[in-house]
């Protein structure tokens, strides 16, 4: 890791907007984020959740109404964007259309008054790094979307920014390129070890690139943690729904043990691993059942629940089922175990819940 690598602290930051109908609304409300030096943190949430506003405040394009933003302990809240030494990648790339690729990348270096020879060398190095060696003389209008994206990336990293900021950088690319580019961004970030904050509404993209994800909703961070944390131990129904596919089933706590709960749902009692503190016997909760945490057996088993297959979709490596069980319709994913292994629609099956992969959230 670079010795100069710093962390970013967003400390209780709020931003209000005047709204024509609703009066004053909060675009961001008491946002707290602590990004460690060299970490790749993603702000994930649906549109209007405040993620882009938060990012723009970190960049210095917007000024918070309350709270503080610190770069490695230095208070930058009142520092304009041009003095923060950041690299920003816009959703629409925002390349300078009147400058060739080389000049686009050189812009930040020229502003910093670097000698011509250094600029030349750095531009060539960075363009090679993003796989665009020899593109110096081309104009942005002549490039494909993926290439434009790489130029935007090169332009942001060439100045060796303290923090790298991405605002939905892949949403203008087609699906295949999106996967390719996100892997490249991740690899490049690892290599350069620049503290990075990334905004997206795509939970799969967030899981693929991030060290840590902060899920935002209604202007605030509702939960942050690794992709696995968020998937397996969502704190709220919103997080459970937003990260991954889920069956949310109304349930009642019947027994509480150390690290486990017995809940009544789907016409039976199911034991789940849960660290959710405070859930007491008699509480109404929601059972978070991931599609792959439900195991189907071809014949009903005595210890398990039983269900009927309503529909099935064969998808190659996996098979998706819709199973009627205890008055609910469940989404279930099973792996294809070979020809003839898929269960037929209409058949009665045994339904077992994987307690380790299941949790509850408050109702």
């Amino acid at each position: 890791m670079n010795p100069g690598t710093i962390g970013v602290t967003v400390d209780n930051v709020s931003k209000r907007y005047a709204h024509r109908v609703k009066g004053e609304i909060y675009a961001a409300r008491d946002v707290r984020i602590d990004v460690r030096p060299g970490e790749f943190l993603t702000l994930l949430g649906p549109s209007g959740c405040g993620k882009t506003t938060t990012l723009r405040m970190i960049a210095g394009f917007e000024r918070p109404d309350a709270g503080q933003i610190r770069f490695g302990g230095e208070d930058v809240t009142d520092l304009p964007a041009n003095l923060r030494n950041i690299g920003f990648v816009f959703q629409n790339y925002a390349l300078f259309p009147h400058l060739a690729v080389g000049e686009n990348v050189a812009y930040g270096l020229r502003v910093r008054g670097q000698p011509e020879a250094t600029i030349d060398k750095r531009v060539r190095e960075v363009l090679a790094l993003v796989g665009l060696a020899g593109y110096e003389q081309q104009f942005p209008g002549q490039l494909s979307g993926g290439e434009q994206q790489r130029v935007a990336l090169a332009r942001a990293i060439v100045i060796e920014p303290r923090v790298l900021l991405f605002d939905e950088p892949l949403s203008n690319l087609d699906a295949k390129l999106r996967v390719e580019m996100r892997d490249e961004i991740r690899a490049l970030q690892r290599r350069l070890a620049i503290t990075t904050i990334y905004v997206t509404h795509d939970q799969e993209e967030a899981m693929a690139v991030s060290d840590r994800i902060a899920v935002m909703s209604g202007g605030s961070v509702v939960q942050d943690g690794s992709a696995e944390d968020l998937y397996h131990r969502p704190a709220t129904e919103f997080v459970a729904r937003f990260v991954g596919r889920v069956n949310l089933i109304a349930a009642e706590v019947k027994g509480a043990h150390a690290g486990a709960l017995d809940v009544e749902a789907l016409g039976g009692v199911i034991r789940v691993r849960s660290r959710a503190t405070g859930a007491r016997v008699g509480d109404r909760v929601q059972l978070v059942l991931r599609p792959e945490a439900i195991v189907l057996a071809a014949t009903p088993v005595a210890t398990a629940l039983s269900g009927t297959i309503e529909a099935r979709t064969f998808l190659g490596e996996k098979v998706e089922y819709r199973v009627r069980c205890g008055g609910e319709s469940l989404q279930v994913v099973g792996y294809n175990a070979g020809p003839g292994s898929a269960l037929a629609a209409g058949s009665v099956v045994g339904v077992t819940i994987n307690a380790e992969a299941t949790t509850v959230v408050p109702q």
């Binding site: 394009f61 690299g87 920003f88 209008g141 605002d167």
Partner: protein, 563 residues
């Protein structure tokens, strides 16, 4: 030419064929024929090719000076007008003005745009003339001459800078504020962002604005006639004086034709240089974010102050004009009176009635002509389609003086004797200002996806029903835009039609000019106020029609004046 063989020959639809033939006949008669006659008249004298008289007048020292004066004036108007237009456009697009302030800015810009072109010239005399409010009453200077380059320049800049504003504003608004934000985040100061990003991206727009103003000034006839005086002759006024003063139609024609050279150069530059230098927005989805603050608070204040100062000057000029129309004799007797209005509604009533009748006929005809021709050249395939589009723009692009003299020459004698009739004036307006409607129609139609019409046909509608139910409603805004422009120009134009008025048919604008030369300033002011009032009422009505006919989400026809 070989490619035409592959195309369906001359339209299978008899209605289209008929419309195309009629349009070609009209274009031949009112665009090609007058210009051809103008050329012939210049080079042929008494049945033989003769260039000596022409060479003599074109090498006359006085006329050569007028030529250079014209170029100098146009150049200066281009520079100064573009600067003020950019100031307004930048302020409107980049300083997050409140809505009310923007409306005010637009309204004050509209004022000179829709007035007769010489209204500011008249106000200039009221303000800075021998008995002017500022020169005489405020500063006490006696025997001042307002005539010359400076006053002509100021007056034309105030008249034409709105064109630059309307050209530049959409260009500045289209510059993605993220691009500026990006430069800012890379460490550039706001000034550097402006210098290295905003300004370079606006260069094609600036060039275009300059060329438009250059052409407008070059063709302007009334302002220099009022303000140029003997000190500062320019080509359009020289051509006019040659014809009306020396009764030398041929010499006037030759002089007007000299204007064609710079006008053509400007047109070619616009078409082949400027249009290729617009940077297409290469980005996909807009970010939809609030724009980045591209000016610091004190720059914002400075910009606003400069805009307000300009607006104050414009408003002052128009207020002065109004004041002069309600006092007995401006500069001498400031007792309030309505006598000038009484005069224009008695002695001047004929001019008002004639103008309204002519405008009333030209308006629907021009609107229809624009939509029909625009529709045919975009949606139908026929031989000579491109040529028709180009020919239809000729009268629009030429300085009015050339068009007026050409019409005068062409329709003065048999076989087609129209001089002195209302028809020749109406035709002049339809073919000179109808092209705004053509351009609006072409722009609207090219934004309408072909699949919309195909969807209608796929649902079983015939091509007639599709046109009536789908295409027509979509191009209604263009029809009203064309209508509005033809009406406004019919009320305010003078450079071409001053050659076409007669005892039987005259125009308010010509009357104003006559009043000015007879120093009947009161009636001139009253006439001007009347024209501005009528035009504002009509613009309001057309604007209302445009809004009520615009389908939600359909493209807007933004400018009533169409560049």
């Amino acid at each position: 030419m070989n490619a035409t063989a592959a195309r369906p020959a001359f339209g299978r639809d008899p209605a289209v064929t008929a419309a195309v033939i009629v349009l070609w006949l009209l274009l031949a008669l009112f665009v090609v024929y007058p210009l051809a006659m103008l050329f012939v008249r210049i080079v042929v004298d008494k049945g033989a090719l003769d260039l000596s008289g022409i060479v003599k007048i074109l090498t006359d020292r006085h006329q050569v000076r007028a030529f250079w004066n014209s170029l100098l004036l146009a150049f200066l108007v281009g520079i100064a007008g573009t600067l003020i237009g950019f100031l307004f456009a930048f302020t409107a697009a980049r300083t997050r003005l409140p809505r009310a302030a923007l409306t005010l800015l637009d309204a004050s810009v509209l004022l000179p745009l829709v007035s007769p072109p010489f209204t500011t010239a008249i106000a200039m005399i009221f303000s800075f003339g021998p008995r002017g409010l500022i020169t005489y009453d405020l500063l006490g200077i006696k025997g001042v001459t307002v005539y010359g380059l400076t006053s002509t320049l100021c007056s034309e800049v105030l008249t034409y800078f709105p064109i630059a504003y309307l050209t530049l504003r959409p260009i500045l608004a289209a510059i993605d504020s993220n691009v500026e934000g990006m430069a800012f985040s890379l460490g550039a100061s706001r000034w550097r962002v402006f210098r290295t990003v905003t300004l370079p991206l606006a260069v094609p727009g600036l060039a275009n604005a300059f060329l438009l103003l250059f052409a407008a000034s070059l063709a302007d006839f009334a302002t220099p006639l009022i303000l140029g005086g003997n000190q500062f002759p320019v080509l359009p006024t020289q051509a006019f004086l040659q014809i009306t003063g020396m009764f030398d139609l041929r010499g006037g024609a030759a002089l007007s034709l000299v204007l064609l050279v710079p006008a053509m150069i400007v047109f070619l530059l616009q078409r082949y240089w400027v249009s290729r230098r617009y940077y297409v927005t290469i980005t996909g989805k807009g970010a939809g974010q609030t724009p980045f603050d591209s000016v610091s608070p004190w720059v914002r204040r400075a910009l606003l102050t400069a805009c307000v100062a300009t607006v104050v000057v414009v408003v002052y000029f128009y207020a002065l004009l109004f004041y002069a129309s309600i006092v007995v004799a401006f500069g001498a007797n400031h007792a309030l009176t309505l006598q000038h209005y009484r005069v224009i509604f008695t002695e001047g009533l004929k001019a008002i009635r004639d103008t309204l009748i002519i405008a009333g006929f030209a308006m629907p005809l021009g609107g229809l002509y624009g939509v029909l021709l625009g529709y045919l050249v975009t949606k139908k395939q026929f031989v000579g389609r491109r040529t028709m589009e180009v020919v239809s723009m000729v009268n629009y692009a030429l300085p009015g003086t050339i068009v007026g003299i050409a019409y005068l020459i062409a329709f003065n004698d048999p076989p087609i004797e129209l001089t002195g009739t209302a028809l020749v004036i109406i035709a002049c307006y339809v073919f000179r200002y109808g092209p705004t409607g053509i351009r609006a129609t072409v722009a609207l139609l090219s934004q309408i996806d072909r699949s919309i019409e195909e969807a209608s046909q796929g649902l079983g509608a015939g091509s007639g029903t599709t046109f009536r139910r789908v295409t027509l409603p979509l191009i209604m805004p263009a029809f009203f835009a064309g209508l509005g422009v033809v009406f406004i120009r019919s009320m305010t134009a003078i450079s071409a039609t001053i050659f076409l008025v007669s005892i039987s048919w005259t125009l308010i604008t010509v009357k104003i000019l006559e009043n000015m030369t007879e120093l009947a300033l009161g009636p001139a002011a009253a006439f001007s106020v009347l024209v501005v009032a009528i035009v504002f009422v009509v613009i309001g009505a057309v604007g209302w029609l445009l809004r009520s006919f615009r389908a939600p989400g359909a493209a807007r026809v933004t400018s009533l004046l169409g560049g």
